[in-house]
Symmetry: C2
Subunit: 235 residues, 2 copies
Amino acid sequence: MKYELYYWPEIQGRGEYVRLALEEAGAAYVDVARGPRGVATMMKMMDVQKGTPPFAPPFLKAGKLVIGQTANILLYLGARHGLALKTEAGRLWVHQLQLTITDFVVEIHDTHHPLGPSLYYEDQKAPAKKRTDEFWGERVPKYLGYFEQLLAANGGAYVTGRRPTYVDLSLFQIVEGLRYAFPKRMKTFEKGVPGLVGLHERVAARPNIKAYLASERRIPFNEQGIFRRYRELDR
Amino acid sequence: MKYELYYWPEIQGRGEYVRLALEEAGAAYVDVARGPRGVATMMKMMDVQKGTPPFAPPFLKAGKLVIGQTANILLYLGARHGLALKTEAGRLWVHQLQLTITDFVVEIHDTHHPLGPSLYYEDQKAPAKKRTDEFWGERVPKYLGYFEQLLAANGGAYVTGRRPTYVDLSLFQIVEGLRYAFPKRMKTFEKGVPGLVGLHERVAARPNIKAYLASERRIPFNEQGIFRRYRELDR
């Protein structure tokens, strides 16, 4: 079975957490919206009046199943491709961590869109600056400090132990994205989270991930995604 | 087994979605932080250096399991208490809908805290007004319109059919909360979502929920929770 991933074709965005899991697993998939008439197909699937139409991309078609919400897709893939723990307790724990990352991703997005997703960044620059200060002063230390601590408590290789889960792939993306969007702030901050910096390197060096990052399947960061580089928000 | 729920004792907040599920199920539980030294116990459980410390309340202790993240707790409870669909596809679908509600809850909270959760509302009144306008202009119609449509497509009783799931309980809370926080705006908006208004009534009339709402276990809405009534944000 070939998976079908549906996500906006020009950004990494929330789809990237799914792409990283599919790539690490070596799973066969099509990134549908990047192909011809792909966006139209994606929009049509969300417009279905019956059945289980997703609220928003990303969503994954796996045979007859259509699964929406990033963390929900990872819950499904994790169990099938050895990217989660196997016991019920372990599955719930890894999912819980992913949902915490999900919360963090919303806060990352809100740094440039504090007044809401429907307005342009250019119309909310002053509040974005305030929100970004609060984000780096309070929220980044709280979220990344939590994962740094878990990592240390579990041996230092990956968050839940010696083998990576989809949570580690997502944390790689968080570090990579914060480095892109806030190079100066992140450079300073990283000194306090050596464990996460090491995790980022370990994920980046995994053969499937390394090949993916060097391929055209990896969309470059840009100012339409979650992580945006606006000089005035960095310091 | 008696569940232990851990959540801030003075607000409904995110804990309320779990309380509603436990109450509808008639499950035995203790709302730990509302008892003597409960908050200290809760804080201690989050401070554990090993194991699976939750990032934030709410979390649920079920025997040896400690489960964090509202939607994750509901995923667990739903399967055990007949508050979700039974097939794998059904479980994922109900969870997906709950994660969409989770996203909406963040946006509800952001109406009064657009500059971030660490600052006071009083220090962000002007951006809160802008964010609230965008919320009612764009986001409420998008989210609640989606659920209204699902409801209609599935017969009109509950979102996934003739029996309620934890998603319906959460939607009850959303309607109840929006009525509390934005009485004027919601009164106008409700005319366009008769299905959700009916669902709200059906949930409120269920015997266990009705008894719960009339009890002291239900904390009244107030201006420390997700849904806050600030006259200047209503119209």
